[in-house]
């Protein structure tokens, strides 16, 4: 006759797991880490002079933010909500306008064929020392959004799917057609008070 094994008392199991649960609730946080990814330019060697006159004027879109978080694009006041459209017009320059960047023709191979694109455009963001971080980030966000939308439109035109669903190889091609060139000037004081 087998000896009866006594049951382990498991009534405290609930308490133990409650403790664990509360510990995790306290030490963890719900928020996911996400952010606006950017790349900084490499530092300028100290013996090299900062030279910002070499870019042709038509290839340059200057976005200035003053200490009151007001926006000036190409010398004109603008609301941040219009910035994306303006940036898209500038980057694509579909109508080959003289005051927008110069277009270059290049064969990207199938399925793109020969594409005219603005190889040398640069968007320059300049801010004041007193600019609010949120205002600065709004501008950065709109500019990144302009690139993302253009890339997405390109992907839909040639592949009929969104940019994010494409293979890496094609994404790289499209990134070459719309290269992200947001330059951040060396910090200066613009005043504006």
């Amino acid at each position: 006759m087998a000896k009866k094994i006594p049951q382990i008392n498991a009534s405290s199991m609930a308490d133990i797991s409650f403790l664990l649960l509360i510990f995790f609730l306290v030490t963890t946080s719900m928020d996911v880490n996400q952010g606006l990814a950017r790349r900084l330019p490499a530092p300028v060697p100290p013996d090299q002079k900062v030279d910002d006159t070499e870019i042709n004027k038509r290839n340059l879109l200057v976005v200035k933010i003053n200490s009151l978080n007001q926006l000036m694009v190409q010398g004109q006041e603008m609301d941040v909500k219009q910035l994306k459209e303006e940036a898209k017009k500038f980057i694509a320059n579909t109508d080959d306008l003289a005051n927008y960047p110069k277009l270059y023709e290049e064969d990207f191979g199938a399925p793109f064929g020969v594409i005219r694109y603005t190889k040398e455009h640069v968007i320059s963001v300049q801010n004041d020392v007193d600019t609010q971080y949120q205002a600065y980030l709004n501008v950065q966000n709109e500019l990144v959004a302009a690139y993302n939308e253009l890339r997405d439109e390109c992907a839909r035109k040639y592949f009929h799917v969104g940019f994010n669903e494409l293979d890496e190889e094609w994404q790289k091609k499209i990134q070459k057609i719309y290269p992200q060139k947001i330059s951040e000037a060396e910090p200066k004081n613009y005043g504006g008070n």
Partner: protein, 145 residues
């Protein structure tokens, strides 16, 4: 009255526990500065935790107000830091990483949305000089204007 059968209670609690363990993340440090993330729409997730280092920027929390004042301060790891310490911090953290990961380091700037850009620009210059060029401005998803 018969006793309520609670033998499945641990299982339920364990399920809850696992749910919370999978959806949350460990706090990196205890904050000495308070900040409210700015909002943006074009966000990317920081996938690999081990590659990310954080710089917190904000006003000291109420317990540190007396000692440090209400001016914007920078926090690295667990302590307040001066902007000149950022370079050393980055170099130290990078050399502690695995060699193949060193080029992939991302610095996440968690700054309060009211911060003045002067402070952020200083940090960016320090990061540039330390060759920490991949950065991420921590932000929350904006739902509307």
């Amino acid at each position: 009255m018969p006793a309520l059968n609670t033998s499945s209670l641990p299982d339920i609690i364990f399920m809850l526990l696992f749910f919370f363990m999978s959806v949350t993340s460990m706090k990196e440090v205890s904050y000495k500065v308070q900040f409210q993330n700015p909002q943006a729409t074009e966000l990317t997730k920081l996938e690999k935790k081990s590659l990310v280092r954080y710089i917190y920027v904000g006003t000291p929390t109420s317990e540190f107000r007396k000692q440090y004042g209400a001016e914007t301060r920078i926090q690295l790891d667990d302590a307040f830091a001066d902007k000149s310490e950022i370079g050393d911090y980055i170099v130290n953290e990078r050399s502690a990483m695995k060699e193949q990961d060193q080029g992939l380091m991302i610095v996440s700037i968690k700054a309060d949305k009211e911060t003045r850009m002067g402070v952020i620009s200083d940090i960016k210059q320090e990061l540039r000089n330390a060759y920490a060029l991949k950065i991420s401005y921590a932000a929350t998803q904006r739902t509307s204007y």
